[in-house]
């Protein structure tokens, strides 16, 4: 579904990514981990068509990526909510932009907001929400698009452990029901092990890809499972080596 070949990217002087090769299958859930500033967000932006690589080639569904596509959703690291729109109409924004009927998706939006624990906040404005609540709105906005490819940049970073677990489980469920290609940036090894089919690590400056592990565990998985903890522990060791 996603193919990167020899992709490099520089911002002016800063060489952010170098020689990235990566393939993500149609229904594969890939987690990307790596140190802060190593180029994870840049990588997602390249796949989304928001940046053009300085070198190399990015393809989605067989077509070279020249601009953003509607079947690819992007959940940004920062919530990026429109401050003048209510929570509900922020969630419905993609629907409006795609020219679909917001009315038809209203129930779905309510459902999603309920799922992430924001029931009752539909008519609030973003500035009335806490940081984690804003992030969850942004998650709903991304989920309502039902895309073929989901790009998620640290979607749970501002969430507490419990909410995080709940949402991870929800995300797993969604992925089991309607599998898609997911690239998921996270700082939590546990989360990566819980969710991903495959984990890659990006080493810093310039970012390079290291395949770390195929998490060959059966789904659904749950945090605290002994097998998961084992994989996590191994990974942490490897991670230390790669990113030292």
């Amino acid at each position: 579904m996603i193919t990167l070949r020899g992709v490099s990217h520089s911002f002016g002087g800063v060489h952010a990514l170098a020689g990235i090769d990566l393939d993500v299958d149609e229904h594969e859930f890939v987690a990307v981990i790596g140190r802060s500033g190593c180029g994870k967000s840049t990588l997602l932006r390249l796949v989304a068509g928001l940046l053009t690589p300085s070198e190399g080639r990015v393809e989605v569904a067989g077509d070279p990526v020249v601009k953003p596509r509607r079947d690819v959703s992007f959940m940004f690291q920062r919530p990026a909510l429109l401050p003048w729109r209510t929570v509900l109409s922020n969630v419905l924004l993609p629907i409006e932009v795609f020219g679909l009927s917001p009315r038809a998706y209203r129930d779905r939006a309510h459902e999603l907001l309920g799922l992430v624990g924001l029931g009752g906040f539909e008519q609030r404005l973003p500035h009335e929400l806490s940081g984690g609540m804003q992030q969850r709105v942004s998650l709903c906005r991304s989920l309502i698009q039902s895309p073929r490819v989901m790009l998620m940049d640290e979607p749970f970073s501002a969430l507490d452990a419990i909410t995080r677990t709940e949402l991870s489980e929800e995300l797993q469920r969604v992925q089991l029901e309607l599998p898609r290609a997911v690239v998921f940036v996270t700082h939590s090894v546990d989360e990566a092990v819980l969710l991903a089919d495959r984990i890659v690590v990006l080493s810093p400056r310039p970012g390079r890809i290291h395949e770390l592990a195929d998490v060959g565990l059966p789904r659904p998985r749950a945090l605290g499972q002994v097998e998961l903890d084992q994989v996590s522990r191994e990974l942490r060791g490897l991670l230390g080596e790669v990113t030292a």
Binding site: P68, R70, F76, L82, P83, E96, V97
Partner: protein, 243 residues
């Protein structure tokens, strides 16, 4: 508070003015005392209010038209660097032409009726609208623009649902500047070939050395301006409750 303070400010101004006419003996043919001005107004209240309505209507009509022309123009300018580079300088140049000097041309082409006055209003107040709208739209935060781009949003959505909406507070600043200019534009329009309006009153009374009457008309102008300005502020509060 909301009403008391402006009234206090006004009283302070009038007091200072009165004091100045008495203490410094400002010549009354230059600056009449507030009492003279009030007397002038009370001589012809109906007539003056009628003229006020004429000017008000011209200013409002021209202002409305300016929004209808200026905002799309700003959209074009933001949408195309080519158009911006080609026509922005012309807009600036056009704005620099003293309207008083081209008033006769406007009257010759558009007649003595309201059309020529409305056109004058448009000429004076379109520029602040265009520039503030355009610059507000350009200052949209990059992260929100990126969001719209990530959704492959049509240009029109990026413009209307994002940039223009984001620019609204700045558009209102432009509108507030424009609305006071609109009143002046109407007056300048009335200086040439008008039979009614406060500008006409000022011009005729100025020429016949009836300074108090001219000041009464200017005071009414100020009232219109303040009313329109705060009316716009009220609309802004309704449209942008959280800005």
């Amino acid at each position: 508070m909301k009403v008391v303070l402006p009234v206090l400010g006004l009283l302070a101004l009038i007091g200072a003015w009165w004091l100045a006419t008495i203490v410094f003996g400002v010549d009354s043919f230059l600056v009449p005392s507030p009492a003279d001005v009030v007397a002038s107004f009370l001589e012809l209240p109906g007539y003056l209010l009628e003229q006020t309505l004429v000017t008000l209507w011209e200013a409002v009509a021209g202002f409305g038209l300016s929004i209808m022309i200026g905002v799309p123009l700003a959209l074009l300018i933001v949408g195309s660097t080519v158009l911006e580079r080609m026509f922005y300088p012309l807009l600036v140049a056009l704005n620099a032409v003293p309207k008083v000097a081209i008033a006769p041309i406007v009257v010759v082409w558009f007649g003595f009726g309201i059309e020529s006055k409305v056109l004058m209003v448009v000429l004076v107040c379109i520029f602040p609208i265009v520039i503030s709208t355009a610059s507000g739209m350009k200052s949209t935060p990059h992260e929100l623009v990126e969001l719209f781009r990530s959704l492959d949003a049509p240009r029109r959505h990026e413009f209307f649902k994002l940039r223009l909406r984001h620019a609204l507070p700045q558009v209102f600043v432009g509108l507030k500047v424009a609305i006071t200019l609109a009143v002046i534009g109407a007056v300048i329009g009335e200086f040439v070939g008008a039979r009614a309006g406060l500008g006409y009153v000022i011009y005729t009374s100025g020429a016949s050395a009836d300074t108090s009457l001219a000041f009464a008309a200017m005071a009414l102008l100020a009232v219109i301006s303040v009313a329109l300005f705060y009316g716009l502020g009220y609309v802004e509060k309704k449209v942008l409750p959280y800005a």
